[in-house]
Each structure stands twice: as C-alpha cells, then as structure tokens.
C-alpha cells in the first residue's frame, strides 16, 4: 500500500511531479483559456452591471486561491512541525508568493470593479480589509523566510508564524465584521440555496459554468506553480549542499 509519506522523499517527489507537471500545466492553460475566453467573450452583459460583471472570472477564483494557498501553507507547516519532512516546509515556502500574488489580483480586480460599481476604489469593508490583512500576513511570512539564514530555523519559525497567524487571521475576520458592516456582497456562488437549485438565489448558469471552469483553472495553475517552485527550492538546496561539500573537499 503506497503511503502519501513516500513523497516526503525529495527524489521521489521530484520524479513524480516531473511526470505530472506537463499535464498539470497543460490542463491549467487549457482550463484557464476556456474559462476566461468563455467568460469574457461569450457571456451576455449583466442587466445592471454591463460588461464589468466579467471581472468575476478573475476576481472570484483569485480570492478563492488566496485563501486556499494559506490553508495549504498551514497544513504543510503542521506536517513540518510534526513529521519534519523538508519537502513540506519547502512546499509552504513555495506557496507563499503565489498566494500573495493571488491576494493582490483579488484586491486589484476588486478595486477596478468597485470604482464604476460602488463609486470607490477602496472601501473599509470587512472583506476588503481582511484581504488586506491576509496580504500583510503573506508579506510577513515571506520576509521572515528571507531574513533567516539557517534553513531549518527558518522553516521552524515560519511554520509557527503560520499557525499563530492563522488564528489571528480568523480573529481579524470576525473583528472587522464587527467593526464595519460593509458593501461587499455575501457568498452568492456557493450559497446553500443556490446549490440546491433555488433559482431566485442563484447565479445564472450562463455565468456560473465559465466561473467554475476558471476556478478549476486557477486551482490547477496554483498546484502546477507550487510543484514547480518546490522543485526549484529542493534543487537550490541540493546545489548549495553540493557546493558546500566541494569547498570542504
């Protein structure tokens, strides 16, 4: 019975991901192209929002992945703390910049949409504010990785920061909810009524299907990027080890 922990072996990880990466990347490109082109050019304009509604094909998937990237880092950090697999720590490190970029995409596309719709680029709305805070967490996490020279120390410290940060991120989410009621709409794509097929509540299929396709595209893109960046980290570390050995010898 193959166990998932086999992939804690860097060689095995690289071999497997090498085989998967071309497929993953191709799938990511295809689904992204299909989702975005379909979303941008083959959906009708919304009755009130006009063509600006189409920014959701970037905004919603990016926001989704921004949160999921942090979750993935949290799981990877836990695995590092408990089982001390280096691949896991490097995976968390590799995911951080991707997640940060997703956060920026969500914030920027949100601002671009908010300007014509809400009449403002930025509003101190709970969702917007929590995303800004999430972005700060990403920045702090990456800065801490960059600031510490010893790899294992850096991995330990950043994973504890990730755990503590997750608790505080959730706290902040509720705190800002309390602090300001906000303009941002609630969840409408995944709302329970919508999934049960309540047509009143639901985003019309015309919009929803391409949206799901681009969500899948963003997810695939994220996985492919994280695999690739983790490989890079592993190879960089191996190169450093080899160079150190050469200097010794």
């Amino acid at each position: 019975m193959a166990s998932i922990w086999e992939y804690a072996n860097p060689v095995k990880f690289i071999r497997t991901t090498d085989r998967l990466l071309p497929w993953l990347s191709a799938a990511a490109v295809v689904t992204l192209l299909v989702g975005l082109v379909w979303g941008f050019f083959f959906t009708p304009d919304d009755y009130r929002q006009g063509s600006t509604v189409k920014i959701i094909y970037l905004h919603v998937p990016a926001a989704l992945m921004a949160i999921n990237a942090w979750l993935m880092m949290l799981v990877a950090s836990l695995i590092w703390i408990v089982r001390r697999h280096h691949v896991s720590a490097l995976g968390a490190r590799a995911a951080a910049p991707v997640g940060a970029v997703m956060t920026v995409i969500a914030l920027v596309t949100g601002a671009l949409w908010g300007q014509p719709m809400w009449g403002t680029w930025w509003e101190w709305d709970p969702r917007l504010t929590s995303f800004l805070i999430l972005f700060l967490f990403y920045l702090g996490y990456m800065a801490l990785w960059a600031a510490i020279e010893d790899d294992d120390t850096a991995a330990d410290l950043t994973s504890i920061l990730c755990l503590v940060g997750s608790v505080f991120a959730i706290l902040s989410r509720y705190a800002v909810n309390f602090w300001n009621q906000g303009l941002h709409q609630g969840a409408s794509v995944m709302r329970a009524g919508a999934l049960a097929g309540d047509t009143e509540e639901r985003v019309s299929n015309v919009f929803a299907v391409p949206l799901f396709v681009s969500m899948a595209g963003f997810a695939l893109l994220f996985i492919a990027l994280v695999f690739l960046r983790t490989q890079t980290e592993i190879r960089a570390r191996r190169t450093r080890a080899l160079m150190a050995r050469e200097r010794m010898g």
Binding site: V164, S172, F178
Partner: protein, 218 residues
C-alpha cells in the same frame, strides 16, 4: 521569577533611556495630531479615542525590540534558558516587565493627553479602561514578535511587519470600546471581546513565544 522580574524592571527603567521613549513618542503623536488636522474641538473630540489608542499602540511597537534584543546580545538569554525556569515562564515575565515599563505608563498618561484632544467626559473612564485591558495583549503579542526576530540583525522593520497584522483585532476592539464609551454608548460587547483576546493571548501565546525562542537559541 520575581528576581527576573525585578531585574528586567530595573534594566527597563535605568538602561539607555528606553523607558521614557515610549511615553515621549505617545506625547509627540497626540500633540502633533491637532497641528496636522486643525484645532476644531468637535472633530478632535470625535477622533480622540482612536488617536489615543493609535498612539499607545505605536509607542508600544517602538519599544518591542528591547524586550529580548539586549539579553540576546550579551548572552544572558542563554543563561536564562539553562536556568531552572521554563521558557514559557521567562517569556511571560519578559512580557509582564514590558507591560509594566511601557504599557502601564501609557495607560496612566492617556487621560492627561485626552485633555489635549478634548476627549468627552465619559471617555476618560473608557479610554483608560480599554487601554488597561488591551495593552497587556499588545505586550504579549509583541513578545512573540520579538522572539521570532531576536536572531536577526536589524530586525526592527521585520518585527513591525510581523506584529502589525497581529495587532489588528486588539486595536479594533480596544478602540471600539474607547469610541463607544466616549460617545456614551453601550460598551459591553467590544469590552468582552477585548477581554477575551487579552486573556486568550496571555494564556496561549507564551507557549508559541517559548517554542520560537527555543528554536532561536538552538
């Protein structure tokens, strides 16, 4: 533990003028606010609770790297680590010493600075109460940040970046208590939330700080 606390307090008060720095910064921020936004007293009264909270938070932030950096540099932190005192105890004492030398003075001068900002009558009680309840959380969270960055040279900027998002919930609820109190509104909800955060971080965060410090001392 008491010995460590008195030592830290004595060092905090006597060594290198760090004691007055936070207070001076707090004073500067509150005095400069009316100059920058204008002397209109109704406006000042409205923003006074927020400004006091912001000033106290920044003054606290300014003094964070003193919590552990000096002990790290002269090696006394390594000695403490070998002492028969759990690391959790050490970081808790450090946070307590930081609060007594920085947080408590800020709480005490806040009403005086409130006069400068034309703080409304009921606000004095609630600004003081919310700061009294909130600043321990700032010290404990700050100690965690200081423990994370203790091994890094010139870690001050990184420390601020790490601590900034962690301070958000405390600031939100603390300033909300002060604001509502000053406006004569109900304060129970934010006050209990603030108390929850403070006691929660006092109970749990020393474990994280101790773990981080152990890693850094490895």
């Amino acid at each position: 533990m008491i010995a460590l606390l008195t030592r830290d307090l004595r060092l905090g008060v006597r060594a290198g003028g760090g004691f007055g720095l936070g207070l001076a910064f707090f004073l500067i921020v509150t005095v400069l606010v009316p100059f920058s936004i204008g002397p209109e007293s109704a406006l000042l009264a409205r923003i006074a609770p927020g400004i006091l909270w912001l000033g106290a938070l920044l003054a606290c932030l300014l003094s964070l790297d003193r919590i552990l950096a000096l002990d790290w540099e002269d090696g006394s932190l390594d000695l403490l680590a070998t002492a028969p005192l759990p690391m959790e105890g050490i970081v808790s004492i450090k946070a307590l010493a930081h609060w007594i030398t920085t947080g408590l003075p800020l709480v005490l001068v806040a009403p005086a600075l409130g006069v400068l900002l034309n703080l409304p009558g009921p606000g004095y009680l609630w600004v003081t109460a919310s700061l009294l309840l909130g600043t321990p959380a700032l010290s404990v969270i700050g100690t965690f940040g200081a423990a994370l960055t203790v091994g890094i040279k010139r870690g001050g900027l990184l420390l601020s970046l790490l601590v900034l998002p962690l301070y958000v919930p405390t600031l939100i609820f603390g300033a909300e208590v002060a604001r509502r109190g000053a406006a004569g509104l109900e304060v129970v909800t934010p006050l209990t939330m603030l108390a929850g955060i403070t006691f929660g971080v006092i109970a749990l965060l020393p474990f994280a700080s101790a773990a981080v410090l152990r890693i850094n001392l490895r």
